[in-house]
């Protein structure tokens, strides 16, 4: 597809489809609406949102989550505490007999009465042959998810769409399966009063960090994973050695840097769901034990990938090469430790020789795509290759004080999800969106956009254009990709659209470096 065709397409669908949300629900060009912004309410109500603490020690532009302190907080609270009641977003997990299993805030045991109430509500509705999904109470939404003997509930006043909150509950359930597999259901069959909390001992940080990621990690709603930008050759080198060990009896070999994939390989026919990757990476990164003692960075643990097989454990060998980069080798065999240890050794040798690890560090410093690097709009015709600066070409250009002012036409940020690859790429944040609050607000706006775009029943080509006092948001969904872009609130609509086309072209031009190509297809 040429650039002009693309442009024509997006313009046509924007202007010829009066019933699309872009031209109906929101103010379009007018710029008067404020109804879309949940964050407004957040400020007005002065409620307590736990993540606000990040503000205190905000350090870097792009990695706000690193300054977040994991672990359970406010253990002294229960449902009688004012502070507890004021928290914006609660998550609960309880058993079908009303026993608390997990609560984001407060001590589970002190919330036993509250849990019983939730259970009563759920079973009351169920006894009528129905199931409860959502209750609205004032500005609170109560979202329910029933998974056999396990009930998950979210109480939120964050104005996130129902679909998003439900998706978050699904992920929490998935995280539980990662730790215990679905065989916990058997415990409830044997003994309905079974108390599950002891089985989750020591995992508070896994859940709190997952919940925290709902507000900074777009993978939690995009259902896609993201790669660390690397030159094609570097990623190939990493992939080759992973392939090598995968051939010797490893089911999945995954090399990651923080939450970004460097490379991954699955044994024949084995494929990894992006949600499993998210949950696995969260489990590993939030478990301090995996990197507790420098000398003991090797760990071996049972782990379940719910989308791969929710009923069985795999065994994971986990080793950190440095503070950010870790290798995960998964097998089906519980006594494969020595084999995996040997594989690790081989991987490490190759990575060191081929300087993959230093390239990884360099990429971390340089960051990914910066909107300022978007090639300027050509007067006519298509954009050209090579105008942009690739991250790996520009080691000198990281996080200078004056960088990050934004891209052409007031472009602030974008996210691009390749449907075929199950991967997304997100640009670095400019200075106009540099606090965790601003970033969270943008992600929530994207999330809302995502939910409305995926609202069933509107054709395959869809666009949406929203303007409020915070940004202009533009979304474009095709069969191949989804693009979400945020602009300065005063941005001109026509040039914003044009810019989006250029972003797509730019991504095509650098896809070798931002995506993992040629990985075994992710089918499930």
């Amino acid at each position: 597809m040429t650039d002009e065709e693309r442009e024509g397409e997006i313009r046509a669908s924007l202007e010829d489809a009066p019933s699309s949300p872009g031209s109906s629900g929101y103010a379009g060009e007018g710029g008067s609406t404020s109804a879309t912004s949940g964050s407004q309410f957040e400020i007005q109500h002065q409620e307590i949102e736990d993540d606000t603490r990040i503000e205190i020690d905000r350090i870097s532009l792009s990695d706000s989550h690193t300054s977040w302190i994991p672990g359970k907080r406010h253990l002294d609270e229960d449902d009688a505490s004012i502070s507890w009641r004021k928290r914006k977003k609660h998550f609960f997990v309880l058993s079908h007999s009303g026993k608390p299993i997990y609560s984001r805030y407060g001590d589970e045991h002190r919330l036993a009465g509250f849990s019983a109430t939730l259970q009563a509500i759920i079973s009351f509705v169920e006894s009528g042959g129905d199931s409860i999904k959502l209750v609205r109470a004032g500005r609170h939404q109560v979202v329910f998810l029933v998974k056999g003997p396990i009930y998950l509930v979210c109480i939120s006043s964050t104005e996130e769409p129902y679909e998003s909150l439900r998706g978050q509950l699904e992920l929490i359930y998935g995280q539980m399966l990662v730790i215990l597999t679905r065989s916990i259901n058997r415990c409830f069959e044997k003994n309905p009063k079974f108390d599950m909390t002891p089985l989750l001992g020591g995992t508070e940080t896994v859940f709190s960090s997952l919940i925290h990621s709902f507000s900074w990690n777009p993978a939690t709603f995009l259902h896609a994973y993201t790669c660390l930008p690397l030159s094609y050759a570097t990623r190939q080198a990493a992939g080759a050695i992973l392939q090598d060990v995968a051939d010797s009896g490893v089911l999945f070999a995954i090399l990651m840097c923080r939450h970004k994939v460097i490379s991954l390989v699955g044994a024949q026919k084995a494929s990894l769901h992006p949600d499993d990757m998210l949950l696995l990476a969260n489990f590993v990164m939030s478990s301090e034990s995996f990197r507790q003692v420098k000398l003991t960075s090797e760990s071996f643990s049972p782990i379940c990938l719910p989308r791969y097989n929710p009923s069985a454990f795999l065994y994971a060998y986990i080793d950190y090469f440095d503070a950010d980069t870790y290798l995960m080798l998964l097998t089906t065999s519980s006594d494969a430790f020595y084999n995996l240890k040997d594989c690790r050794f081989r991987v490490e040798m190759v990575l060191l020789k081929s300087s993959v690890l230093s390239e990884v560090q360099r990429s971390l410093l340089n960051g990914g795509m910066h909107v300022e690097d978007l090639p300027p709009l050509p007067h006519s015709g298509s954009s050209h290759l090579g105008q942009h600066m690739l991250p790996s070409d520009s080691p000198d250009r990281f996080k200078e004080a004056n960088s990050g002012i934004g891209g052409p036409a007031g472009l602030w940020h974008f996210m691009y999800r390749s449907i075929y690859l199950d991967q997304y790429v997100s640009s670095e944040f400019p200075s106009s969106i540099n606090t965790p609050q601003q970033q969270k607000r943008l992600y929530r706006a994207y999330q809302k956009l995502f939910a409305s775009m995926h609202d069933k029943g509107i054709g395959p080509h869809k666009t949406q254009f929203r303007r409020d006092e915070n940004y202009v948001l533009l979304c474009w969904v095709t069969q191949d990709f989804e693009l979400y872009a945020a602009f300065d609130p005063l941005a001109d609509k026509a040039s914003a659209i044009k810019t989006c086309n250029h972003v797509c072209q730019w991504i095509k031009d650098v896809e070798n470096e931002i995506f993992l190509l040629g990985a075994s297809p992710f089918s499930w």
Binding site: L199, G202, E288, Q292, V293, K294, T296, F300, S301, P302
Partner: protein, 206 residues
Amino acid sequence: MPSRRRTLLKVIILGDSGVGKTSLMNQYVNKKFSNQYKATIGADFLTKEVQFEDRLFTLQIWDTAGQERFQSLGVAFYRGADCCVLVYDVNSMKSFDNLNNWREEFLIQASPSDPENFPFVVIGNKIDIDGGNSRVVSEKKARAWCASKGNIPYFETSAKEGINVEEAFQCIAKNALKSGEEEELYLPDTIDVGNSSQPRATGCEC
């Protein structure tokens, strides 16, 4: 012919969650202690070179998770152990009572060739807390249990203050070595059946 091959000794550390297994290991290997509790997931693994009677050994220490959900997963970790260290917290009766379960579970799952004489070492940890005033398991009681289980060597330690940790691990290494070497002596006369001068049996006994 290499006269001295490096011996690798596998040591498993077991005990309830929070008794201080990871802390003991950390103190022994890194001479460090942290007050913060970070639950071990699955098993952590480290090696340490030790010298004993003029020979070098590699201790391969498996620091296992005491959390309940890992207790059914022993097999993978226990197999082939040369020594098993049972740790309890002198301030927690429950952790002491559970030593019996840990020991039995280990013997079932690791199924060593000679369970009666398999080397265990018992460690009573956290003796520093409250200057010993909050301790609930007396040394006498612990020693009596150890004696009843075939004279298991017993140590009282503080991973925090580094008290007795080195000594305990010296003993662990020594005991692991004993059982490890027996294993090695046993191997040749099964492997060398064909070549050795007088094998026990010749031909087929089927």
